[in-house]
Amino acid sequence: MEFSYYPGCSLEGMNKAYDKSARLVSKELGIELTELNDWNCCGASAYMSIQELRAHLLSARNLALAEKEKKDLAVVCPACLTTLTKSNRYMGEDPKLRRTIASALKAANLQYLGTVKVRHLLEVIVRDIGEQEVKAKVSRPLSDLKVAPYYGCQFTRPFGDFDDKEFPVMLDTLLKWLGAEPVNFPLRAKCCGGMLMTTNEPVGLGLVKSLLDCAAQNGAECVATICPLCHITLEAYQGNVNKRFATSYELPTLYFTQLMGLAFGFNRKELGINEELISSKHILAKHVEAV
């Protein structure tokens, strides 16, 4: 199974551990990820807030590069997923937009015919690889580790038809295959407020707090994330939440790929498990055989 792999800007910066672990577990499962050569920013929300057509153009260049490789595009950031999918769909639905972008791409001898599918790695693993093959790789089950499965907004909203738009369950399914116990987590697809942290921190912190409340009330020992922005928001702003609301949360966050890697027998360092801001050492010591 081969994909062009689009890490996205966040994974080059503060979320390298997500990149590391995603590549590692994909390889283990026989998913061949080849990084899309010279990819550019997807044209994410902040860009789209200023420039509409140029945001589509940014996505289109990535799609054109992937089309040249004749492979679908695997992404790990749900915001990149939504942005790339939006341009892909809108260019398909709107001939005028398609022609505008096509003539712009032509200036650099690029073209995009519309054949690339953009997919999140979690969906690829759960649907294409499946239970048997994932379970076959589990050498160190995450015995009863209580995990809050956190999807954030843009995994299925607005475009994901592969899971429920308001109550996705794919991550729960995967966690069970790894031997972990996904706890009841009703806020699984609610906003983390990440986009607001620099611009309106009080509103953002309120959202983080309700997520932490919900995870803690349901007995979670850690949060599994599939989005780099949710991840950094949950870990970096817990201290601010504690200060503002007089709480004392210290809930580690781990990427779903790190949890997979642990269950597959990789060591912490390979998975970047020493890099999280709130250490997961104590909970992993309790549930996972010596790493």
Partner: protein, 208 residues
Amino acid sequence: MNALSEERSERRAHALGNVFLHAVYSIPGGEKIKECIQCGTCSASCPTSYAMDYTPREIIAAFRAGLLERVLRSNTVWLCASCYYCTVRCPSGIKLTDIMYELKRLGVEFGLVQEGAIAPVLSKTFVDMVDRYGRVPEIPLMMTVLLKKNPLGILKMIPHGLRLFLHGRMPFLPHRISGISELEKCSGAMTDALVSGLHPGSGIGEEA
């Protein structure tokens, strides 16, 4: 307000409304905005509407009443975090999140934003950095925005930065993609086509 200035402000509101509507109609499915039944599902689904001066439902009501300028000058649209709950729940199929993006662009284009708001500056800086490097270096982005809008905020970020640094997660140097000139060419071609008034896709001015 005297009759003349009243007429002027009405004309201005009308013009703003028209630009908005034209832009919304250019989004695939954008014409659904006509079908808003003011049920308020969007506002009730929105995680930040409680903090907005105008809720999402009220935005459409304000647009219909010719009061869009008030909405743009308020804190409303930049509180939208793009969670898309409104979009997937709207019984009329209105793409509210796309409309929020349109309002953000409209506000920036016409200089109608809330005084002192950080979010438009963040987005503009984001665009500048992507145009320069092809990707977004997160840390330089945050630092630039804080320098522009809230220099004291940098002090508050130091502990965060230090923790990231200690965990090996603080890359300082932005990476410039080699396709940046390619992107410049494409976006130059697009701007030329738009500025010269050629209707893209109409066949005028395109190679045969």
